[in-house]
Amino acid sequence: MVENAVLHSIDFYVIGIYVFLLLAIGLFVSMRQAKNASLFVGDKSVGFASIGMSIWGTNIGPSFLIASFGAAYSSGMLIANFEWFAWIFLLILGMVFTPFYLKSNVTTIPQIIKRRFGDGMYRLLSIYSLITIVIIWLGSGLYVGGLLFSQFTGWELWQSVLLLLIIATSFTIVGGLAAVIATDAFQTVLMIVGMAALTLIGLYEVGGIDGLMAKAPAEYWRLIDFDSESVPWMSFVLGYPIMGVWFWCTDQTIVQRVFASKDVPTAQKGILLAAVLKILPPFIFILPGIIFYVLQPGIENTDGAFIAMVSEYMPIGFRGLMIAVLMAALISTLDSGLNSFSTIFTLDIYQPMIKKGKELSGKEVRLIGRIVTLAASALAFVWALAMEGMATNLFEIFQTLIAFLAPPLTTLFLVGLLWKRVTTAGATYGFVLGCITCMTVGICSINGQTFGLFEQWPHFLNLTFILFIVTSAITIGISLVTKHSADEEFLPKFKDVANTDSSQNKSIWRGWLILAIVMVGLYAGFEYLARNAGNTSDIPSSLSTELSSSPSTGSSTKKTASHSEPLTTNTDGLGLPEVNVYRGETPTFDGFIDQNEYQDATMLTGIENWNPQFSAVSDPKDLSGTVWIKHDGEYLYFAFDIVDNLMYGVDTPRWLPQENPNAHELTREGFPWFGDGVEVLINAKNSFSQEDGELNKGNGHSWQMVVSTHKSRLGGVGVAGLLEGEERSMLSAWNNYQKWILNKDMEAKVRIKPDSKGYTVEWRIRPDPCLEISPGEFWSADMPVTKMGLNLAVADLDNENEGAGNWGNFWHENWWSGERDKRTWLKQWGTMVLHGKTQPISTQDI
């Protein structure tokens, strides 16, 4: 395993505890259940709370998590509609479908269809179900989850995928659905707790509720937007129900929890609980995305937003918790998928087709079920790894995939089951033609292939609606011209299965009514926010009631800003330096500066007269020197020849500044610039968005690195070399810097002069990844003349008492550009003009 800077050992303990609890619960439940319990419906004794939490946990997988976080980052609450409409379809599942399902005494969705339309349809549907389980539940989640896990741990993708699979498969094989449901409940609680922590920490960072309201764009609160490009309201209202019926009411993986319940009221209560829990995702999965946008706008690849937030803002221990959350999201989905795959294969393929309908003994079922689970797990492994080479915008594709899988099945259930006139022929043709049409349209629209027929494909939500209409038309049309076949059977009437007048039934309906009122209230509340945001006194916060009159809003803040203006502006007249840099011969990269080695480079002198951050240099023997800069097409080179009559740690004993007893360490608490050394700061993007105070990003766009004469990342304390500079307080920067050093994207060689009256440094920088002039684009010598921000610093530490009074006990620190205290601000840096060609020889030189 590579050295891991993102995770602390405590994070690994947290992950370990999670895995331990998970396996313990899974195995405990497996042991406890009756010996002859079914792998597929347990012993039909699951309580409603477990059912509800399991539905919720199964539904939320890692790709959902990443995608909705990213969507929230880029466009706010709109994506929450997908969560806050789900309750309607859970209501339909609970109050309409569940009585049918349980009264028909079936274990799989295809078996329902078999009763209504006979064997042909049954086989079709069994195969269709297996395929969708692999695509939706197994492959995508596993790939995404594995990828995220690898990003955190530094493992290979296959290692991560394998580990996650082994965990998920273990208790699924042993305990079947009962273990799946019990562990899902645990993982649901974990996800809620973990994501709530992320939200609260985000809120803390952003300045609380007041800060969020003041800084988030008002339109980010909008839930209903007719003109939105991502979720246009009309399309949503038409298209989502098609997906919703399929996903919530007829998909085996979700519905299997219903089959496992003891009776109808238990199932209904579980479903109601899942619907209530569905209130949460916008607050704990989507809100943090919005918060992160406020904290750090400008991330282009929003799929990476979640990871970025976790690694930058979550403290020690919580990063481990978030990885556990991701694992929980994955495993709670994966185990359910594995189990339903095994259920359908064993009961709907193996028994009727291979065993030709012979009864299977309980033992045989369990054996086959376990083998199939293992096989499904192997299939998922291969499929997840195969995905690595496929399209790049996978998250997006998975989101739209459901839109094309749903219409045939939704038609079959809505039209086929609810309307008696539908014939087997109608249902079959409707389903088969529907699948073919959907697949064709799906593939073409995902690839953007329009054959020149129209300008662009309609929104996927519109497409799913249109496809539903087409499939329904086929089904109804063919039914009207055909007759019922012999093996058709009519399902019982709704009023015969639903015992509408029991008191339990009434209280469940009351629950739904309350939920409906809450949901309407939520929509109204957010609509209100979208219209009034930016006005803190309107926020329903526990604190704002008393203090709403209130802090930091409106006019008073503006007053502050204008007052302090004179202090923070006026840098324009500063006359920032500029240096031209040209191509030259490749120097010998050994730390020695030989005669003529840098004669074709641009020279900067007078370090002793650069801007002092601390005391000014009065004697050039104390600190002075020369810097050369050039490139050879492959690397950008900086060479320093520094005169320094007293070297910290060489001529003096090592001592530490009072303010930081860890100054010498190589950790983030250590000071990289502590000791004699030089710094290079480059703003390759040559832009800054803030007038003042903006610091570098710690990536290829802008950075600061340090070469110290007495410690280094590669050599440790006592060996001169490269160190991570600021903003190393930012985790992403720290990681980037460390990666550059370890990959030798940036290298430095240092030589202390033989008389120890100074040192020389050769420092080379590879443009890719260190000089990223725009996202994904790195400087190269064949580009036209390019300007970058540049700053240089040379630090001199002598005796402890000489620097008394400043935080690092510096004797001197001289900067090429920028005012005292502001020299790390991007705006204060000088300019490096990079020429691809060698220096033109001017007439004067001749």
Binding site: S541, L547, T557, T560
Partner: protein, 383 residues
């Protein structure tokens, strides 16, 4: 709300105990801590406790009035809320909560320079009644800008604190690596996790930052440089020469806080200051220092007619306030007790603490037979 009183906490020590349960250890230690061995913290308490008052029962007496006039405004009680830095760290929105309760109860709230709230927002919340406490900004441009903002925001009184020429050496804070916003070390995280109500309120209120000074700080300044920055810019040592430009720039009432030596009081009078706070900064700066109640009597006898005399450090009850006023102070301040109040009771804590102290003080004055605050010295048992 204004008259809120929770009978479970009739004494400041009850509030303190409750607050300690709700505030993370590192923040509570910052609030409590004194310099080095914390000898002066203890001495502040014992010296105040030693003051004795004598009642006079047979002279006709109607009732006691707590009102006191200062710089043209009549306050409802002879005590105010002393400036405390980083309040928002100890309880989220503490400055806002205290400024509001003080304004509603008509007593002064003094906002610290290093507060988590901005001076503009506190001016607004306190309806213009809060005072402003300034450390000496050594950077001229910052000093000028701050004074302009203070005037603009309408603060009636300026308090300049002079007893922080050094950073108090507070062992507990050093051990905890105290910082604002807090450092996310494992130890601190565990301490925060142990206080769920603090955690929840803090998340909703947001990260505590020094709002007043924010415009002067380079953005995202790393924590390790902040202390150095503060030392250099806004918290420098100040002597009488350093006070002169402030006196020139500020025409309103000027109070010098942190004096204990009569010599210094004399210099303050010569400077043209309008008040002095006799204080040892709650025992946080000089561990071998006297407690202010001791020199107070002498100073008051000598200078009471020349300048308003305030006192703080170690006061924890109506009795203590009466003792200080009887020893010659015109007015008193309390620091930690109000933070205990907010820590224990949140939004209601400010009102509760003020009401408790007012009730206690009223009882004592009634018992003594003293009707006005200014008469209290008559009831002092002189040593």
């Amino acid at each position: 709300m204004k008259d809120f009183f929770d009978p479970r906490y009739p004494d400041i020590s009850d509030l303190r105990a409750k607050a300690q349960k709700r505030i993370p250890n590192f923040a509570f230690a910052y609030l409590e801590g004194g310099c080095m061995e914390e000898i002066s913290v203890a001495r502040n308490r014992s010296d105040v406790a030693a003051v004795q008052l004598r009642s006079q029962l047979l002279t006709p007496f109607d009732k006691s009035y707590l009102e006191v006039e200062l710089f043209g405004h009549t306050y409802s009680a002879p005590f105010g809320i002393a400036p405390i830095g980083l309040q928002g760290l100890m309880w989220p929105k503490a400055p806002e909560i205290l400024a509001k309760s003080a304004a509603d109860k008509n007593i002064p709230y003094v906002l610290s320079t290093v507060s988590s709230a901005s001076l503009e927002s506190i001016a607004e919340i306190s309806q213009g009644k809060a005072w402003y406490q300034l450390y000496n900004p050594t950077d001229n441009s910052i000093r000028e800008d701050l004074l302009n903002r203070i005037k603009q925001a309408g603060y009636p009184v300026l308090v300049v604190t002079v007893d922080v020429p050094t950073f108090g050496f507070r062992p507990r804070d050093i051990k905890n690596g105290l910082a604002m916003p807090p450092n996310m070390t494992v130890k601190n995280i565990l301490q925060m996790l142990a206080k769920p109500s603090w955690l929840w309120e803090t998340a909703l209120a947001g990260k505590p930052e020094m709002q007043t000074l924010k415009p002067y700080m380079p953005k995202d300044m790393p924590m390790d440089q902040l202390a150095a920055f503060m030392n250099k810019t806004v918290m420098g040592r100040v002597d009488i020469e350093g006070l002169k430009p402030i006196r020139d720039m500020w025409q309103g009432p000027l109070v010098i806080k942190g004096l204990i030596n009569p010599q210094d009081v004399k210099l303050a009078i010569e400077l043209g200051a309008d008040g002095v706070v006799i204080s040892n900064h709650g025992g946080r700066q000089l561990d071998a220092g006297e407690s202010p109640i001791k020199p107070l009597q002498g100073i008051a006898k000598k200078y009471r007619s020349d300048i308003k005399i305030f006192m703080d450090s170690g006061l924890r009850s109506g009795t203590n306030i009466a003792a200080s006023l009887a020893s010659g102070a015109d007015f008193t301040f309390l620091g930690r007790p109000f933070v205990y109040g907010v820590g224990a009771l949140g939004k209601k804590g400010g009102y509760h603490t003020i009401n408790t102290l007012m009730m206690q003080l009223t009882q004592i004055m009634n018992q003594l037979g003293c009707s006005k605050v200014a008469d209290l010295p008559q009831y002092l048992v002189e040593e």
